[in-house]
Symmetry: D2
Subunit: 388 residues, 4 copies
């Protein structure tokens, strides 16, 4: 059976009982009825993995105790049965070895971000992706919102003229106290250099801001000057970051992110100004895009309307003002990835929309961004180039 | 296998290629991985039904040419295989016969609203539900939003004091021109008295406003004075309605809905004022609930935060400011319905949350509301009681 | 000296120490440096009147103990010194006798609203205005906002097509408890039928809503069906009103106002829908006007921008996003009234802008509105025509 | 006559026909009826000065051809007649010599910002103020908003805990094209280094952001790293600025301002985050202050409510949701300045509120800020201390 005539099958690494992002991935994967979960290595504890799988109505023999076992046993299954790809939803330090194992066992990969623990790993992973020829995707999920796609299309179509300024922010407040001192699992690994990497806040959410800015503008950040702080006593990684940006082509910008901005939820937002127009989008009200002009009133673009372009239209599942949410945006990454995968499996030409998801290049770039930020901050916010 | 240990299975009536609400129902049903589509009578054209089912990866022998065939063949399947319930997503005039057929064949029903074509049917359906003892649910989906549940819980807990005033609105603008004169399928049946019923705008969206007001306040509208208009030339049913409300217990209110309010999307919203507090919620930004008080600043409640009550918490799938949308709210109707169904099938005690979905009583009430509105308007907006 | 070469002079009736609206009138009158306060009968207690005048740097001999004395003594002053008009800022029951006395003494009048205590007085006042030929203005101040003028101009220019629906609201919450039982002066007279008139909430703020709706649409309300309530125990006048509207020409509408809507400040707002466009304006953010269309995104018009029409431009004092407030709107009534007065005094042709302020016809209409509302409500919300 | 028993008198330098900010100052000065304009040197062209004065109903002999003449002639007038202070509303390069002349002639000064053309002048002016003992004020007008005062009081009262992060922005879009190439007077002098000073955008509006941040937090910026750009071809001064901030005591921050941010009006805004709370305020909706907390919902503080502190209450002229605007905020600078002046003239103790206006120290600090920004940017955004 051709991949275009069946559901795409995946296995999950991580995401067992008590995890947070695994459930999000499963909803995102399943929302359109085009992708089905067939197996998992949900936990490094084999029994916990089986119990987690049972919660999801998976048969015990497809619930593995670790990803190595998963690769081996899945690879041994008949083609019509074995998984097509793995979704990696572990803490950061496992992303690379899990992705490597899957790719080298012949499986495609859709990984939670960041791609790896550090830049060296990311570059190595890029080589593995190239060598194996497998499909690799990364869930920089905020680029899945319909109006983010509209924004990108507007910039690409020149509706703002040459881009001059970008302001991108991702303030949160949930780590304003030393939450990791309690047994809060999400806080614990994110503030632990061994599991999170060289940066805290910047790695966790700053990379989303960086990715969003580059996705919408189509411009690369060339260098940055960053000032990181760990405000909470005893915290080992940054919980706040302010930085100046310079883009290729001359645009300037500001990026700041924070996990100590009391009262902020997931307030990712961006403003882009070109020679003739401006854009503004906020993740917490994601169905509104403000479009600004030199002489006329600001226009309020809303998800689902007929005046939107093809990119935004294809990313919405409901009519106007039936609000699309975070899960739908996340699902758009899965949808495009799966459609691309179908074309690859079937040897057909993928359509352009199916290629619109973050790839290993975005992953390498994200890790290079983190390293540049950390290096700049250690050097008293000296201008530092992004090595990717 | 106990229902609590497996996915709940359903078949769909209506929702074939080209339909709108069917896809919404399928996403809502599937989003949590707890309910699976196993069959369908997607179209009265057998081939179209099979083609629609194939799009959904269903085997041809579970794709039926009509609901009668569906009932017969599904009933003949072994218990572990046949559907547990049907989802009815046809135009209004088919709701009653399809629900009747399903219930009488021993299947549970989750129906799109309105429950039936008119009040007489609704009352008959209520009897059938009672006689068959089957579970019946109705997708007044807007009550599925987490903050609508928070609002209801606040009122129930007396945080607003005795309720005095309710303002509930549902303006849309999409029928401001004679869209039904083109081949727009959604406009065509909604403006056709034979398929839509005695009311246009009031039946389509006014009932959502009525249901939302009664759900949040826990109060019944006792009588109303309604002024209906068909503004667009040649339109046979109302496309705009303004009405005064009186609630049991003395609260007063205003309900207005419209499909000619140019530029409005699905702007369902409600404000409730009691002796000591007030509430405000808008469907187009559904993750915000404004809570007002006699002396202090207005508070902005947001989905997913720790300060929310159990009802709202159980209805959210993501952390704060990861916006929950229309599909998640819709899915909450399915989730609770399916959980209730599991308890019924297994003969266990359902938990309170699983009972929180609209039932046949809401359906009867909605039809009684429509008839009262139409009668009042024909009588020059005379006060008219709701017969249910 | 011609009136166009000097400041316009006025005296104030009411507005002594402890009053509220008097200070607002004085700021509004003085803001442009074109109108100066020269005398007052600030209180019925002569000493209090003189003390109040001294606070305002007025000489004692221009501070009168009552308006009769004021008329007599001012009339005796030389032309270059005596006041040109009186501003009446007393409680409602004094509006008529004070206006009558001033007009008959040859002075022009700018009165706080409502024009009089009841409709009979208003009609009599209209005759007096006509007979004396003096200039009479009424501070329905909300029509002074620049974007209200933009809205009116848009409707007049046909940009919305034929008007179909109007929703106008004025919710407040400050009388949600029995504030008049304390010594709160504002609450006391507004809830007292002897000083306020036949209606409470409707007279105080409902008339602003009525005036705003008719000002913007250029349409008259022909009949209404109103349901009034006094929710607070022991209150003698309505503190909440809901009503259905029918306009000349076929438009429909809803008007509701309230003083028991907990947490609402002065949330006057209006939405107007025509065949091809819509408008939305909120007094609490008065520098934004939403303009809606059949097919395109909503546009956000903001005070002070170059794309606004002449009417809005002439009503703003600052550049874009230097927010104009309530006092500036109020001042626009004074500005136009004074400019009209200058033309009348000098015998020149007034420009069109100077005629844009509420007049005795608006006053009569407001009183007729109140009487129709009260009559309708007494008759169980029967449709009642407005007698003016 | 004591100053407390009369209006305060002022003369204006600059602000003749065609000027912009002069009219704003006059409205602000006059709004409360406590300050009167008695003379002016409105233009360096004597006839234009007289014509401008005539527009304002001033006698010709109080309209001077330049400020030197003004000082001489006003000083010669009797005490009960001559001006108490001068308001300086010229382009930047005239601020210093005019202030110097006035102070040395024995007059108090209220100057538009920036205080002077450069830091050296500012420091010299500070010495003159100290030597002459005259009262000097500066119209950093945005600190006059009631809710800015509430924000400052909250921080001072420790309601946010120790401050960690400040984000302050002032984007505008009006210079996105080369407006100065036309004959637009405002654009022309602001982009001319000879009249504007070392900085363009930073001097014009960046200083407002700096002043607002320091006013609200009570913290001084200790050092900054700034990246300035002149985006518009041929422009000699910066039209965009991004900078990192470090405050005394360890807080960090971001300040960015721009005149090429297309579609932005005067979007000055600030967010402040402490250990236990956060604040957010936007000048374009200045009657709302968002107050954020660790665990509870965000609160919406609104101008004029009873729950506000004394500072905000004393700065408002109208009740809740009668929006206060830019002119009222501006007027609060004048009000406090004049009240302080009264106490000084009468030799009484000024009350605390009357001392709440920007002074020469703020002026020096603003100029030091500008010089630090320009120096940092020339040094590739190296960290630069503020020399004041």
């Amino acid at each position: 059976m051709k991949a275009s005539e069946r559901k795409i099958r995946y296995g999950m690494i991580g995401g067992g009982r008590g995890a947070f992002i695994g459930a999000v991935h499963r909803i995102a994967a399943g929302i359109d009825g085009e992708i089905e979960l067939v197996c998992g290595a949900f936990s490094s504890d084999p029994q916990r993995s089986k119990d987690s799988g049972a919660d999801l109505y998976l048969p015990p023999d497809r619930c593995y105790g670790n990803y190595e076992e998963m690769m081996e046993k899945e690879a041994a299954l008949p083609e019509g049965e074995r998984m097509d790809f793995v979704a990696i939803v572990t803490p950061n330090h496992v992303h690379f070895p899990a992705a490597k194992a899957a790719l080298e066992a012949g499986f495609n990969v859709l990984s939670d971000k960041p791609a790896t623990f550090d830049l060296a790993e990311a570059k190595e992973l890029q080589k593995i992706v190239e060598k194996t020829g497998k499909v690799y995707g990364l869930t920089h999920n905020y680029t899945g919102y319909p109006l983010v796609k509209e924004a990108r299309a507007m910039v690409a179509a020149g509706k703002l003229g040459k881009i001059r300024k970008v302001v991108v922010e991702y303030p949160q407040g949930w780590l304003a106290t030393r939450l990791e001192a309690s047994d809060q699992k999400q806080a614990a690994w994110r503030t632990d250099p061994k599991r999170s990497g060289a940066a805290g806040c910047v790695g966790d959410i700053g990379t989303h801001a960086e990715n969003l800015a580059e996705y919408i503008t189509g411009l690369k950040i060339s260098e940055l000057a960053a000032d990181l702080t760990a405000f909470v006593d005893g915290r080992l990684l940054d919980d706040d970051a302010n930085m100046l940006l310079r883009f290729e082509g001359g645009a300037k910008g500001v990026l700041h992110c924070s996990q100590i901005s009391v009262g902020e939820e997931n307030n990712l937002n961006i403003r882009v100004y070109g020679e003739t127009g401006g854009l503004e989008w906020h993740q917490n009200e994601p169905n509104t895009l403000l479009v600004k002009s030199l002489d006329g009133p600001t226009q309020v673009f809303r998800t689902g309307n007929g005046y939107l372009g093809a990119e935004a239209a294809s990313a919405a599942r409901t009519p106007p003002s039936h609000p699309e949410g975070y899960l739908e945006a996340f699902a758009n990454i899965y949808k495009n990835f799966a459609n691309h995968l179908r074309a690859v499996i079937d040897g057909t030409e993928p359509d352009a929309t199916s290629l619109d998801y973050p790839k290993i290049e975005d992953g390498v770039r994200g890790m290079a961004f983190i390293e540049a930020v950390v290096a700049s901050s250690k050097n008293n916010a000296a201008w530092t180039k992004i090595d990717a």
